[in-house]
């Protein structure tokens, strides 16, 4: 009861106003490629110093929620994931927009983000201490296997050639080694350049690899960027509701996956949305349509990535270990305000914590009206802006966005180079996603391996450390399934086809 009282405190007119402002600003920032949720939160931190703690937290949570959701606009409308967690949204969102269903994709993304956000927030409210204990069971070895598992998803996700998928991942892995290694501090592939020391920044690589090829194609082909929608059909809300209802299990399962992956500090939203995407594709009766504009793909990734908001706060609040980069900023703001994380957050400081969680619920619900409103205009304007204006505007945004990530002009160079490289590679069937996956998962796998190896040496048996722990074994099993399931299914399909002449009764 007390909890509810604290949560109700979030409903004061001032807090509601802050939540509306925060969500709107977050959507706006998240929709612009390069301006990430982390940045949105960091910019806001000084503004919140003068506010009461609850109000500050509500506003920070709202802008974070809005920004993660806003990232889907860029993914759907210009094929550019605004944040790594929106990578998989491009797979089906962009093809939908291309064929004129951009409005449907945006509405679906809005509804799914809301479902995901609610599931994540609910987990934070009810299961936080339990889930935080699970997070601690993940050591270096588990992270290593998790990264390997993520890499095997490439075989599931690459259309056409699995080999080309792995070539792309190899390129990504190589790119991830540039700079100063975390473990060992070796300087690799920097070629004496002070700029390369910092490595290839993931968001700039994302913008380059996804957005630049779209821009080149826009200029190179005479056809329109996106098919215009039919007149007067609005946001297709009822149609979306119908699709959501059909995919209710998909949406819930993805939200649960998102929540669980998000409690692992460092794994984050990109893995969460990829795992749920490949799960959705594996179980869907329409699996062959994934990658060609299947609404279920958008529902899966957007449910998952908004669930990471609530899920990521679990280790942040319970353990004081930030689950995602924006959480690190919010944690910093909490410490500056004089708050301690840990059990105190749910005892002495419970009023602040529960008001914040209440605020998170409000922000998530506010996404619906605000998202539908902003999303409608975003789609309309992207469709109606003439190419001659659209291309330079997006190009300008990519440059500013890339620069803004670390205030480093060299990142812009990297972004453009990777963009051109990505355009050339995609002509040969090597897509952007495996490259980016390699770039994201490479360091996780490398650090996990070296740390696990050091631990193994200290304990006397490297093999026991890598293969003898229960969670590791489970992840290894999942990895094997991910690798062999497509092969098995292809074989089964062949057999079914061959036996069509003499139909069998087993299914």
């Amino acid at each position: 009861m007390e909890t509810l009282g604290f949560m109700a405190a979030a409903f004061s007119p001032m807090n509601l106003l802050l939540a509306v402002l925060g969500v709107a600003a977050g959507i706006f920032i998240g929709a612009l490629p390069g301006l990430s949720a982390t940045m949105a939160v960091a910019v806001l931190v000084p503004v919140t110093f003068g506010m009461p703690t609850e109000a500050a937290l509500i506003m920070l949570g709202a802008i974070y929620t809005g920004a993660i959701y806003g990232g889907s606009y860029a993914a759907i409308l210009v094929n550019t994931p605004g944040t790594p967690s929106a990578i998989a949204t491009t797979f089906d969102g962009y093809p939908m927009a291309q064929r004129g269903d951009g409005d449907l994709a945006v509405t679906l993304s809005t509804l799914s983000s809301m479902v995901g956000g609610l599931v994540g927030a609910l987990a934070l409210l009810t299961l936080a201490p339990l889930l935080a204990q699970i997070a601690l069971k993940f050591g270096p070895v588990e992270y290593f296997w998790l990264a390997i598992f993520g890499l095997t998803l490439i075989s599931a996700l690459s259309e056409g050639s699995t080999l080309k998928g792995f070539i792309g991942a190899g390129i990504g892995l190589l790119l991830s080694t540039v700079g100063v290694a975390v473990v060992g501090a070796d300087i690799r592939y920097a070629f004496g350049s002070q700029f390369l020391l910092g490595g290839v920044e993931i968001i700039s690589a994302l913008i380059g690899l996804y957005c630049i090829p779209v821009l080149i194609d826009l200029v190179a082909t005479p056809s329109a960027h996106l098919e215009p929608p039919e007149e007067g059909r609005g946001v297709r809300f009822n149609e979306s509701l119908g699709l959501m209802w059909r995919s209710k299990f998909n949406s819930l399962r993805s939200a649960v996956i998102g929540t669980i992956v998000a409690i692992l500090p460092g794994a984050g939203g990109s893995i969460a949305s990829l795992v749920s995407y490949s799960e959705a594709r594996r179980t869907s009766p329409r699996h062959e349509r994934f990658g060609h504009g299947e609404p279920d793909g958008v529902i899966a990734t957007e449910s998952a990535n908004n669930a990471t908001v609530g899920g990521g706060f679990i280790p942040t609040f319970v353990l004081g270990i930030p689950g995602t980069p924006p959480d690190a900023v919010i944690l910093g703001a909490l410490l500056v305000q004089g708050f301690r994380t840990g059990p105190e957050m749910f005892t002495t400081n419970a009023n602040v914590t529960y008001t914040f969680i209440g605020g998170l619920f409000i922000a998530t619900l506010l996404m619906l009206p605000l998202g539908l409103l902003i999303g409608r205009y975003a789609f309309k304007s992207i469709v109606s802006i003439p190419k001659a204006l659209l291309v330079p505007s997006i190009a300008f945004m990519t440059v500013i966005g890339t620069y803004a990530i670390r205030n480093n002009p060299f990142d812009v160079v990297v972004m453009v180079v990777l963009g051109v490289l990505g355009w050339v590679l995609s002509r040969y069937g090597i897509k952007a996603s495996p490259i980016v996956l390699g770039l994201i998962l490479g360091p996780i796998a490398e650090q996990g391996f070296v740390q696990g190896y050091l631990m193994g040496n200290a304990s006397g048996s490297v093999l026991t450390v890598f293969f003898g722990r229960p969670i590791s074994m489970a992840i290894i099993a999942l990895t094997l399934i991910a690798v062999f399931y497509p092969l098995w299914r292809a074989r089964r399909d062949r057999i079914v086809k061959n036996s069509n002449e003499e139909p069998r009764h087993e299914h």
């Binding site: 000084p46 020391l197 500056v336």
Partner: protein, 328 residues
Amino acid sequence: MRHTNSNKTFRLGTLFTAVLTSVALSGPVAAQSAEDYPSRNVQYIIPFGPGGESDISARLQQQYFQDITDQQLIIQYMAGGGGAVGWSQLNEMEADGHTIMGTNLPHIVLKPMGKDPGFKTEDLKNFYFFHYSPDALIVANDSPYETLEDFVAAAKQSPGAVTLSGSGTQSANDIANQRFQSLADVKTTYIPFKGTGAAVAALLGGQVQAEWGYTTVAANHSDKVRMLAVAADERHPQFPDVPTFQELGYDMTGGAYRGMAVPKDTPEDVTRKLSDIFGQINQNAEFRKKMQDLGFVLIDVPYAEVDEFMAERREEYEEVAREMGIIE
């Protein structure tokens, strides 16, 4: 909120132009007298990502800077290469005192000892060191090690079998481990993690038996961990029961020091004024209290004493670097 957004875009735009211009001209900009300094907002660049200790301590300074100068201290991040990306660009930035950058020890001494990270220690014009996070040997609450003696005994019994997590290689934690190994004549396995958060997670999850961290880590996780010893001159007021290494017979003080530097062409009088302003912040009772509660130890090394302070630290790190094989 709209307002903040447009402000931000504007700021990014101007900063972009400013950096491009300064890279293009790369010369000293017209000097400015110290009387009217600061005449506009000051950019405070943290060469790490947001949310870390460098960021948190800068955020605490931020509030009091405005009280003293009526100008805002605007915190920016330029992460990459463990700080190297920022430090290697500092001297090309506008040198009128309106751009300052956080500096960290041992990073700025150790990094240039290995391969060339794009900057030299002596090229960084530090003007104030304001605090440090003392090294601490941390174990989980349920650890069998009750005292530092227990830990040393375990490490002596089976060399290399005791594992410790810490943040990064050739970092403050790595150095603390190295120093303690030679002082106590033990052999342990140091496992570097990406950041303090990951190192604590490894300790709490039982992946390692102990952690090289700081008093700040123990303050943040006071319900789950305890410290065996602290590398400060005296016991930390937050932890009156935790002995110092010196009390226990190990001559070890130090940790991660944090300061600020200006581009090297910044006029002397402006640099001194900056040193005075941050000295004043360091005296503020409320600031001191907040810093102490978080586990930091405040120190005052103004501009005039920076050279001497750096020379001492340098000597200390060189000795360790030789043992670690970073330098001959």
